[in-house]
Amino acid sequence: MSRLIADKFVEFLGQPIISVHKPGGGGSLAASFAAKAKPDGYTILFAGTSPILINPVLKKTDYKIEDFIPLGMGGDNPNRLSVKKDSRWKTLRDFVEEAKKSPAKLMVASYGKFSFSHLVLEQLSQVANIQVTHVSFKGAAEAMTNLLGGHVDAAMTSGVAGMIRRRFASRR
């Protein structure tokens, strides 16, 4: 994603931008790498919410949000609660009502423990006064695959999961 956007900067910077993918630690490795790099503008970070906001709060990281300056924000990355199309819940209220009647019975996937999706699920549980069983997966794709496979009742995901939905839809 960073490449798709950064490519548009090139003509205004007058030099190429090379995107380097540094996976691991929910984005923490990339953020740590960027935080330690020489602050000369030749190493910049492209990141979502988890590595910048959540990881320094909930996990042990060698950087904090104050180590960075955002260039501005051009895209919101919402989380959605999804269920299978043929599920018995037609609205969020249906889902919440069942969760209230059967505490901890409904299993909800996220794309990682302490990820933004996990936090949003915790917020929903808090404001709706429900208790669900959180099931952490290694990414949104895995969470959605398990939802489609019927291994969890719902999934709180963002971004990439929507692409999976589109791919499935395109096969029909």
Binding site: A6, F12, F68, G72, G74
Partner: protein
């Protein structure tokens, strides 16, 4: 969906807020530089981003939509982005404390 308003590409999906569940707004993607970077470096990169969004709003929007992001064109300022990030962080800390989620 945890946004303040419905997304253009998913107009049929209601927000948590409108369903009566006030969940804090979502986060966003951004480019970041180190806090110690010289002001001139920040301005050069920031201006490049601004000009790119001004020159190619349609293409950037399409690219953001490909990743299911809700485009914000033109992008908000650095100060506004930082304000939002700090606000979101404070809400995350509050939730984490109340839900006993701290790993540290």
């Amino acid at each position: 969906m945890n946004t303040n308003q419905r997304a253009e590409q998913h107009a049929q999906i209601p927000t948590f807020k409108e369903l009566g569940y006030p969940i804090s707004p979502s986060g966003g993607y951004s480019f970041y530089i180190q806090k110690d970077a010289p002001k001139a470096v920040f301005e050069k990169l920031s201006d490049a981003q601004k000009e790119a969004f001004e020159r190619y709003p349609g293409e950037i929007k399409v690219n953001l939509l490909k990743f299911e992001l809700i485009p914000e064109i033109p992008p908000c300022s650095s100060q506004e982005a930082f304000r939002r990030l700090i606000q979101a962080r404070d809400e995350i800390i509050k939730t984490a404390r109340e839900r006993g989620l701290f790993e540290k």
